[in-house]
Amino acid sequence: MRLELRQITKRFGSLVACDAVDLEVAPGEVHALLGENGAGKTTLMNVCYGLYRPDQGTILADGRPLHITSPRDALAARIGMVHQHFMLVPVFTVAENVVLGHEPVHLGGFLDRRRARTEIRRLSEAFGLAVDPDRVVETLPVGVQQRVEIVKALVRDAQLLILDEPTAVLTPQETTDLFRVMRSLTADGRSIVFITHKLGEVLEIADRITVLRQGRVVGRTTPAETSAAELASMMVGRSVEFQVAKGAAAPTGAVLDIQGLTVADGRGGLAVEDLTLQVRGGEILAIAGVQGNGQTELARALYGLLPKLSGRVTVAGVDVTAATPRRAAQAGVGFIPEDRHREGLVLSFSVAENLVLDLFDRPPFGRGLRFDPRAVRANAIARVREFDIRTASVDVPASTLSGGNQQKVVLAREFSRPLRVLIAAQPTRGLDVGSTETVHHRLVEERDRGTAVLLVSTELDEVLALADRIAVMYRGRLTGVVDPTTPRDAIGLLMAGITSGSGRADRAAGGAG
């Protein structure tokens, strides 16, 4: 299918998310839609999929105008979309999920399971999807769940498939598998819109590239004609440093000492299992791993937000195994939560109040029952200046700030007390390139101040750019502690739980102890 978007404009209030965007996707091509978070990629594709109605513009399929007002219309027009967050019922089987919404029925209204199953098998074989129709979805790895989503679109005979940041949740190996599937789909004449902000992937898989910035098309190119650096500067609007400027680490003794830590996952299993790790003052230790391998629980347990089943944790010799978040903070632990909207901020509170969420009962902000909003404001004005937080005022709700500026509020707050250990969980998730640079810079600065920094990140690029040592987690266990010069594919194997023959990993792990 040849899909044409002409002059699509979509506004949210005064914000123009898409500004007269033209896009043409040819049959049988992978068209990469590249841009920072908030550039309008997902909005544009949601317009295409009928989730939003454009304020202006037309959508053409093979030259005929389409009137898409709901995903149902989009599917009827043979446009499918795989969202960043999967729309699957976890307790249903693959087949049940695939037929949900347009169930094939026997005479009399009974589900025709067999027809669904054979259809899934056929598609699975044709495109190398390796999806078993009888498996329950929640038991499948993320990469397979994603392919179930693709099957859902294919069953409805989608000729154009929109993949929204499909690689964000995948291991490097799973990404390779996905790319193979994408190639077999385009070989069949189907088109794919590939939304991403990862430059390497774009150069690898795309036939054509459209770059969006602030809702406008700022560049159209092909992998052969461009480079990562050029794409990055198109995305951001200026040249970008890929390397984080940092000197050599000057590590002191182990500040954060984790011995045999085990944490439950709340579903009857173990999220973290017998994990032993030391982080030295003045170094950044990055926990690498695919999302959902216990990193989140590790970080939360260390800050006292999840109970520890066994093991012992000390910070500079002080036992914080049973510490509440308050005690952990008193012991000098700073925490940048993974979900800043839920745990890092109170979105309805003002910026000023958010800057003292854990300091409000200490002088100068409060003492005993007394609380001094004036001191809170004064502090906020200073912090906003120091951390360059872009906000209309310190009195507006934190919800009005952009993601990057919200994260700066969290950083500014955590850095306003002296730290021994900083736990940063996915500190740049969802941030644009500029804000990511700021966060990286601040983390390195904190390291150079002698703080032990534990960074949890699922972005291998980030891990490689920042870490002085890398610990790889797989299913709650460490599969290796390596140094950042280790090749990517070796780390990728560790992320997939494959440890055999990785002598390098053993050496580095031994050296760290």
Binding site: G13, S14, R342, R370, R377, D395, V396
Partner: protein, 425 residues
């Protein structure tokens, strides 16, 4: 004012300054947007009330039956009914302007009593609504729905009544505060139960408070079977009145019912505002209410906050019970307090759980209460219509999008800017 501001700014250049004016305009617009929606909700409710009056009054309904042959009569009878009813609602709550003029002309006690009686009745009805509204609001700000103001009010009334009856002979300066405090404590105890159950076991406070309302309603029936409360020779379920030394003083002479209860309620509103905005405890309450996850991550003991917020909320509703017993209805009866505890939820909602807003909302509902009786007397429209109007207000408040749609108010930029595109069309 300006002269004070200048040296301060000069002394502390980095100190807090007023927000830049575009922000102030934006914040003001947001606030006024809320105000506009509230005002339009009240207006819409009055219109709905008018329609209900027309269709439930036989005369007007009859006139509309002949609307084709005599449209003028349908309109005039309807208008006359609405005008009479709402005029009575107004004069019954705020007072009759003519009566005020008359009172200040003749200057007799009787004329003054007559003129100020509606206002007095409004304030009498406002006091317990305000206290219970504050109770619901405080809990709400801490993230809890206190549906149990009824039970807490009854508990407060029983304990205040007990202290009022059992300690005669104490001086007023001791007995009255003691009875008030006792009422407060009684309500606090009734609030502690759902609070601690929520905090320790996760039992939802909505369910527990609703159930405690039934407990309290039956508790008062039991209390009214005890000789201590009934007193000698009383067979009906009506308790003895507290001793005179426990009663709240009248504010404007014995002929007007308005008493110190309204002052207590206003003071409570100020205290709640201070607690929420100017204390570390209030900050913890608000944090727990806005985001339990963030509060926990910031080291707040959320469970303690839940218990404490319910205890304080109960105390406020208990104070309402004490104010009723010591100021308005000294004798306990079954179902004491009536609908106050439920209406308070509406008051809190209308006041957006902010003490200032709750004061205004309680005044409005107090006025409805007082004026509704007058309306019932002046027309055949029953007092219940007032409850319908109150309910419709809530309906519109709960669905601001509906009000915006009806009056074609557009919001832009996340509800910050607002402009009206005019009416109709």
């Amino acid at each position: 004012m300006a002269a004070e501001g200048v040296p301060e700014a000069a002394a502390a250049p980095a100190g807090p300054r007023a927000p830049a004016w575009p922000v102030r305009v934006a914040l003001l617009a947001e606030r006024s947007s809320t105000l506009v929606v509230t005002a339009l909700a009240i207006l819409s409710a009055l219109i709905v009330g008018a329609v209900i009056m027309i269709v439930t009054t036989p005369e007007t309904l009859g006139a509309w039956g002949h609307v084709l042959s005599n449209p003028a009569r349908a309109l005039t009878t309807s208008w006359a009914l609405i005008e009479t009813a709402y005029a009575a609602l107004f004069t019954g709550s705020a007072g009759d302007p003519a009566a005020y003029v008359h009172a200040f002309a003749v200057r007799t006690p009787g004329a003054f009593t007559n003129a100020f009686s509606p206002l007095s009745e409004t304030l009498v009805a406002t006091a317990p609504l305000l206290l219970c509204g504050l109770s619901v609001s405080l809990a709400f700000r801490a993230g809890l729905f206190n549906i149990g103001a009824t039970s807490q009010l009854i508990a407060g009334a029983i304990v205040a009544s007990w202290v009022g009856i059992s300690l005669p002979g104490l001086p007023l300066a001791v007995h009255m505060p003691l009875a008030l405090l006792a009422g407060c404590a009684g309500g606090a105890a009734a609030g502690w139960i759902p609070g601690v159950l929520r905090a320790r076991t996760g039992a939802h406070e909505v369910i527990v408070t609703i159930m405690l309302n039934y407990v309290a309603l039956n508790l008062i029936v039991y209390i009214l079977s005890l000789p201590f409360f009934l007193g000698p020779q009383q067979v009906n379920s009506i308790s003895r009145a507290p001793a005179g030394s426990a009663l709240l003083p009248h504010l404007a002479g014995a002929s007007l019912r308005v008493n110190a209860g309204i002052l207590l309620a206003l003071a409570a509103a100020w205290v709640v505002a201070w607690l929420l905005q100017r204390t570390t405890l209030g900050f913890r309450f608000r944090m727990a209410g806005a985001s339990q996850d963030a509060a926990r991550a910031a080291g707040v003991d959320v469970r303690r906050m839940i218990t404490l917020a319910m205890v304080l909320a109960g105390g406020l509703a208990g104070l309402a019970g004490a104010v009723q017993v010591l100021g308005v209805d000294p004798q306990l009866v079954p179902a004491y307090g009536g609908e106050i505890g439920f209406t308070a939820i509406t008051v809190a909602l209308l006041g957006r759980a902010r003490p200032g807003g709750v004061v205004l909302a309680a005044l409005l509902f107090g006025a409805f209460q007082a004026g509704g009786l007058q309306m019932q007397a002046a027309t055949t429209v029953p007092l219940e219509l007032v409850q319908v109007i109150e309910a419709v207000i809530v309906f519109f408040i709960a669905a601001p999008a509906l009000v915006r749609a009806i009056y074609r108010i557009r919001t832009q930029g996340g509800g910050f800017r607002l402009f009206s595109q005019g009416w109709g069309g």
